[in-house]
């Protein structure tokens, strides 16, 4: 390792830590997320409102390679079963924050939480 290597190492580390700290602030959200969004191949196929006190609910999602099962409990969601070789999505477990995303690449399924989209205007 040369001197420049070490400088680069430090620089990357600092940038990484700096961005990490920034992102913690940037993505900090005091309000709980209110819905689960499930996308397949880039298209939203289902949004499910989240509510405190709801018991476990399971949804079947048709992915590229077959049926996956998504489980929702109170304010969190997880991939219960998915027909993919690596099982990364299943092993990820529960997610409960907006920046967490479950991605099952072989099935092209993306699951994340967000707030209900703010509206531009209200008619009434």
């Amino acid at each position: 390792m040369t001197k420049t290597d070490r400088q680069l190492f430090l620089a990357l580390l600092l940038i990484g830590v700096f961005l990490f700290v920034c992102s913690q602030f940037f993505f900090y959200q005091p309000n709980p997320q209110s819905r689960v969004v499930i996308k397949v191949s880039g298209e939203i196929i289902q949004t499910i409102p989240l509510q405190k006190g709801t018991s476990q609910e399971r949804f079947i999602v048709e992915g590229k390679k077959g049926k996956a099962i998504v489980e929702i409990k109170e304010l969190k969601v997880r991939m219960l079963e998915a027909p993919c070789p690596d099982q990364i999505c299943v092993n990820q477990g529960w997610i409960d924050s907006p920046w967490q995303t479950i991605v099952c690449v072989p099935n092209e399924i993306v699951i994340y939480l967000d707030k209900e989209a703010p509206v531009d205007a209200i008619t009434g």
Partner: protein, 356 residues
């Protein structure tokens, strides 16, 4: 040495390039301009988007001017002696009821023509000559009272769109019976908003949102990937949205039984009166119409509100580029087939959303 200068040169060049890029980026950043004015008894807000704020400012002013022009033409109760009084075609027509035809502005004539069409389509439930009935209940006046059946029957004799005579050639309007009067409340706001939208589109605006107290007209898309999100209010809970519409280049107008209500002896009455019975229509809580033209959407939302839900859906199915969301008094939410993809139902206390 040579190499050093080369490196220095490349360094300076890249910094300049970066600065130029940042400058260019900031120059072409999309900006939003929002202005608000109180017009037509409501708060009208116009939001425009573009890179040139001066241009947006000018266009917004033009649009407001157009709304004010239509507002003046259709005002029913301007104080005598004011400019608005002089300019109101509706006042002229009403004052000349049973006397003589009045030549009117092109836009007023158009509004009356559309109103006549909807009189036919709703089989007389919607009637633009509802003025005397509105006055009897006291809408737009200081005092309100519940009329007696006899009073209503007497007044209904003065409500009849067949006695509104429009002469297309001379562009005149004539109420053939004394005591009749027009009320363009169900069309003027939507029409004005549409005129304003057209002014903006002609000027070259590609992205804008006009909101005249819930009468909404969007121009263009919100951005490349997303439509404008328009919330539909829960009729029984103003802080809740029953659902969200995704609209591009369209208008959405809602008529609800919770708007413009009067309370008489502890009971509340809304202003959407049936021209057949003379009483506030009672089948629906709210009707939201999505159409390409805001004027049409406004008129239709009132007209459809007066009809039975099934009748309303049937009428919509016969019209092109018109969709509707109906919330009935028994809290059923119905949606015309073409709108199901654009309407995302959320939730609300006690409602049931009928997907079919």
């Amino acid at each position: 040495m040579n190499k050093f200068y080369l490196k220095l040169g490349v360094g300076i060049f890249s910094v300049l390039l970066l600065l130029a890029g940042v400058f260019f980026f900031l120059q072409n950043q999309e900006r939003q301009l929002t202005s608000e004015q109180f017009l037509m008894d409501t708060l009208v807000s116009i939001s425009t988007y573009g890179t040139d704020t001066d241009f947006l400012q000018q266009v917004t002013e033009k649009a407001f001017k157009e709304i004010r022009r239509v507002a003046d033409l259709t005002d029913r109760f301007p104080s005598p002696g004011t400019i608005a009084y002089e300019q109101s075609d509706v006042v002229k027509i009403n004052e000349n009821a049973g006397i003589s035809p009045v030549s009117v502005d092109e836009d007023v004539f158009k509004m009356l023509q559309i109103a006549q069409d909807y009189y036919e389509l709703t089989e007389g439930e919607f009637d633009v000559t509802i003025g005397p009935l509105m006055d009897l209940w006291g809408f737009g006046r200081e005092t309100q009272k519940v009329p007696t059946i006899v009073e209503i029957q007497e007044t209904l004799a003065l409500v009849d769109s067949r006695k509104l005579i429009l002469d297309e050639e001379k562009q005149t309007a004539f109420l053939s019976q004394k005591g009749m009067s027009l009320d363009l409340g169900a069309v003027a706001k939507g029409y004005a908003v549409e005129k304003a939208a057209q002014v903006m589109i002609e000027a070259g605006v590609e992205k804008a949102l006009i909101n005249a107290g819930g009468n909404i007209r969007v121009i263009g898309k919100k951005d490349n990937n997303n439509a404008w999100k328009i919330g539909v209010q829960d009729p029984r809970n103003p802080s809740n949205l029953i659902g969200v519409l995704s609209l591009n280049n369209e208008a959405a107008v809602t008529s609800g039984d919770y708007n413009r209500i009067v309370e008489i002896k502890g009971k509340s009455y809304h202003h959407l009166l049936s021209a057949r019975t003379g009483y506030p229509a009672g089948k629906n809580m709210s009707v939201t119409v999505v159409a390409l033209d805001s004027g049409q959407a406004d008129l239709l939302s009132t007209s459809l509100f007066l009809l039975e839900p099934q009748q309303a859906l049937e009428l919509v199915s016969r019209l092109n580029n018109v969709e509707v969301i109906i919330i009935t008094t028994d809290k059923k939410i119905m949606c015309s087939p073409g709108l199901r993809e654009k309407f995302e139902y959320r939730s609300g206390e006690g409602y049931s959303y009928d997907q079919n």
